[in-house]
């Protein structure tokens, strides 16, 4: 698992790999000894497939993996009142 995270980090940091061709990606993955099923998931560019293969999950928002968390409310004016109510 850690070599695939290292691989992703390396792509994210490398100007040549960031938009590499399929064949260059394959060569790099083989050199890094990434398992064939993970190679497939990476080449498909499908984060859900990758998460499943890695057993990573993000329960945020109880939706599918790879969704983004909400972190903001539309009107935060009454937040303190809410806290007081919660703590009462």
């Amino acid at each position: 698992m850690s070599n695939i995270i290292n691989f992703l980090e390396m792509i994210g940091q490398n100007a040549n790999l960031r938009n590499a061709s399929r064949s260059d990606m394959l060569a790099t993955m083989t050199a890094m000894q990434i398992a064939p099923e993970l190679q497939e998931a990476l080449l498909s560019k499908n984060p859900q497939q990758l998460e499943t293969a890695l057993g990573a999950s993000n329960v945020c928002c109880m939706m599918l993996p790879a969704t983004v968390c909400c972190m903001m409310l539309p009107g935060m004016n009454d937040d303190t009142a809410f806290h007081q109510e919660l703590c009462a």
């Binding site: 698992m1 850690s2 995270i5 290292n6 992703l8 980090e9 390396m10 792509i11 994210g12 940091q13 790999l17 960031r18 990476l42 560019k45 984060p47 990758l50 998460e51 890695l54 990573a56 999950s57 993000n58 329960v59 945020c60 928002c61 109880m62 939706m63 993996p65 790879a66 969704t67 983004v68 968390c69 909400c70 972190m71 903001m72 409310l73 539309p74 009107g75 935060m76 937040d79 809410f82 806290h83 919660l86």
Partner: protein
């Protein structure tokens, strides 16, 4: 008498949007040196990446539950983080993007930690906004750029400037007054379109934008008409960009007054 500062501390950092590409060296160092790291990230793979930087990474994700008020979730995040700060730990909050952009808990925890005498600050990160300017080739200085949490346009009477860019955040859950849902739907976006249609024709082109969170992805940049927004596929990570519809209107009065000033300055100099 010198009141001693309590030992706990807090720093909230941003990992940026794309795994590996955006994190700053300083943010990474804060993560590596923390006693405990709390995480609120965009996906599970990014969380695995974070786990490689510190042995004690705790996800805040399980606090989210459908049907539970997000306000309650956010306060629980604050209390969870503050408990470790109060216990004297060196705490780091790791958030995707920029920790202070459309994110309430990072600001609140810093405010609270400071008010209790702890050292606390924020390190910026690369936000969805930053990626949007790069991917869509928009310079916010050209016409100006206004950012709104989409629901605010429905809950409050806001004034939109149609000569500037309009960026709408959290469109995927627009209009959720209950604060308990994680997506709304076409009927809610219809109302958003109704508000926007006061300024823009339904044929106006808008862009659904989603930047890459993994370096193997490409950004989503889908151009549709405003009228088609309700039936479009819009999820939590999508941001909607509405380009200006009208040209900037010259302010002839101000220009004349500026010319007078220039003239007066020239006369003084002469």
């Amino acid at each position: 008498m010198n009141a001693e500062r309590p030992t706990g501390s807090l720093v909230n950092v941003g990992l940026g949007m794309t795994l590996g590409s955006h994190i700053s060296p300083l943010s990474r160092s804060h993560i590596e040196q923390a006693d405990v790291v709390f995480a609120n990230l965009s996906d599970g793979i990014v969380e695995l990446w974070l786990q490689q930087m510190n042995a004690d990474v705790r996800s805040l994700q399980p606090l989210y539950q459908e049907g539970k008020s997000r306000m309650q979730t956010y306060w629980q995040m604050v209390e969870t983080i503050m408990a470790e700060v109060r216990a004297g730990k060196r705490v780091c909050g790791a958030f995707y993007g920029h920790p202070g952009v459309f994110a309430w808990a990072p600001h609140k925890t810093i405010e609270m930690a400071r008010s209790e005498g702890f050292e606390a600050h924020m390190e910026p990160g690369i936000s969805a906004e930053d990626c949007l300017y790069a991917d869509l080739g928009i310079d916010p200085g050209n016409f100006g750029c206004q950012h709104f949490e989409a629901s605010q346009l429905l809950f409050y009477q806001r004034r939109i400037d149609p000569t500037a860019y309009l960026i709408l955040w959290q469109v995927g859950l627009v209009g959720d007054q209950s604060l308990t849902r994680f997506s709304t739907g076409p009927a809610y976006r219809e109302l958003l379109v109704e508000v926007l249609a006061r300024e823009y024709p339904l044929t106006h082109e808008v862009i659904i934008y989603r930047c890459a969170t993994l370096p193997i992805q490409q950004p989503r940049m889908e151009r549709i008409t405003l009228g088609d927004l309700p039936k479009a596929d819009i999820g939590m990570p999508d941001t909607v960009v509405v380009p200006p519809v009208r040209a900037l209107q010259p302010d002839t009065v101000m220009r004349a007054r500026l010319a007078e000033l220039d003239l007066a300055a020239a006369n003084d100099a002469g």
